[in-house]
Subunit: 329 residues, 2 copies
């Protein structure tokens, strides 16, 4: 009885701390995905891993957004068709649904629109939407799965990218130490992580890195206070809008799982997280962090590593005589 | 009581049919792997999926032996470092432990020896054994796993390839319809599959394709009766031994999961299984199969597709400041 009471009291306190932290803290809890259509997710998962969406049959979505490595490829920029080096760092697919727009420059409004890009990008999968759907359409098991997921065996790139996006929505990483702390568990963070979080707020990082993603909610200029030195030619949002005022404006990236998603920045130029923290403070906020401050903020950022998705590798249905052969040239 | 008796009798008949078929049939049952060291397997699984064993950090074991697609890449030959096209078709890793030697030309005696090859092959992962172990050795979590698996945090390529091989040993595909039939279930094969198996034996295919792998037990000349037309320059076993008499002698490949492991032959030149069957009968056995015969043998071969390994994608431990950066050039 005493134990039950104690548990009850503890739960009450945790719950009210959670309510308080949830409303007052700028970074919010990541919740697991809910209510998705299982047939669409199952189909999307196969398509996610299927290299037959690329011209060469070598590159799948997972090649550049590897679910074994934080949803990225840990390269400055991805390697595409014929070993073409891409123009910008691949962002993580983990929790990506929660970004307010997709791509660094926001040129896609959501995951489905994003998924259509790489398939026909000559530097990535180098295919066309028609050839990709034609290829997948020659595989009877896929046609059955489209029928189950969308009520029809015939499909277009719309259903292909929709299914991929639905699978991507499952890729949440809940229960990071920071989330447990937000939910009221005072022991979830080390002292350094907690100190780092206080510094993170005091220094002004949360002006951009807020919400469940600790980012992903706005564009911001890379090099707000001081210019960012880079060889990367991407001009950010201005490349989409043609508006010079938006030059070097990029979507603020999520800091969720940042420990896993090196190298950092849109040019993938920085490999060390602490160094990235120091550069950000300098060029975005005009502040020099002490080594101790940068270390503590880095420790805090590592508390944003959540439970990684448990993904059983799918078995892809085999091609048929009608399936176009790969073209690696 | 009557039911119990009936079940008892059925089991008895099945058991004796199994015993009879197991001893008399040239193709034997594939059994699941047993008795492996779980710490070594867990480590090997991470290494299997880890692209940091390649110079570019782009290519992992799974790139060319994809467990989503029958343990192969479904390409005539694999794409390696800097998009180099390999010299020969990638054989499947599924059940590969049961091959009497590894590689098409048998130049490795077992899986461990095989695993060392691609890491330092400039056309594949293009790394060196020293650089690969140095890279992995900078990652604390890996050092702990080596300690757990081999009793020491310091390791060489020997432990790396041993762990990979131990993981590969788990990749069996039991309970194919043909195995169920071998075990006494007369309904496991369709009539065409059963007829195809009788033809497969009558035509002489089992002279080479026997044992649990339906292959993998000997070398044989590709083009035994008639020459095999190919642009592939590999001379097979003679390339290892220097013995002209072994020119074009290759390890007989397994037919297990052959439905999934297209394109066929060491040059990966044939995409259609029925066509591959017809060519084999012609150039290896000097026989022209009717369309009906080739169709039935193909149907039988599809009964060799077993349960594919259920592999939860591992989460790879992140690199550190000390980890060498990838080199894609």
């Amino acid at each position: 009885m005493k134990n039950v009471l104690l548990i009850g009291i503890t739960l009450c306190i945790s719950t009210s701390v959670f309510a308080a932290r949830q409303s007052s803290e700028p970074i919010k809890v990541i919740e697991p995905a809910e209510g998705l259509n299982t047939a669409q997710v199952a189909l999307g998962k196969k398509l996610w891993f299927d290299p037959r969406l690329s011209k060469s049959n070598v590159i799948s979505c997972n090649s550049c957004h590897n679910l074994a490595t934080g949803g990225v490829d840990n390269l400055p920029s991805s390697i595409g068709h014929k070993w073409t080096i891409g123009p910008i760092n691949s962002p993580t697919v983990l929790n990506a649904e929660l970004n307010f727009v997709q791509f660094w420059n926001g040129r896609a409004k959501d995951l489905q629109e994003q998924a259509a890009g790489p398939i026909e990008n000559p530097k990535e999968m180098a295919f066309s939407h028609n050839l990709a759907t034609e290829t997948i359409g020659t595989i009877p098991r896929y046609r059955e799965m489209f029928k189950q997921a969308y009520g029809k065996k015939d499909f277009t790139i719309t259903e292909v990218t929709h299914a991929i996006a639905e699978f991507e929505k499952t890729l949440r990483t809940p229960n990071a130490p920071f989330d447990l702390w937000l939910k009221g568990d005072d022991n979830a963070l080390t002292q350094n992580q907690h100190d780092g979080y206080i510094l993170f707020k005091q220094k002004g990082c949360t002006a951009c890195h807020s919400g469940p993603l600790a980012g992903g909610q706005m564009y911001q200029k890379m090099g707000l206070v001081k210019p960012f030195n880079t060889n990367n030619e991407d001009i950010g949002r201005a490349g989409v809008t043609g508006n010079d005022a938006e030059k070097f404006m990029f979507k603020v990236p999520t800091l969720r799982n940042i420990e896993l998603t090196y190298p950092y920045f849109h040019d993938g130029s920085v490999w060390d997280l602490k160094e990235a923290v120091q550069i950000m403070a300098d060029i975005q906020l005009g502040q020099k962090l002490t080594d101790d401050e940068a270390g503590k903020i880095t420790d805090f950022l590592k508390s944003l590593t959540g439970e990684q998705p448990q993904v059983v590798l799918p078995h892809l249905p085999p091609s048929t005589k009608a399936t176009p052969q790969p073209n690696v040239g």
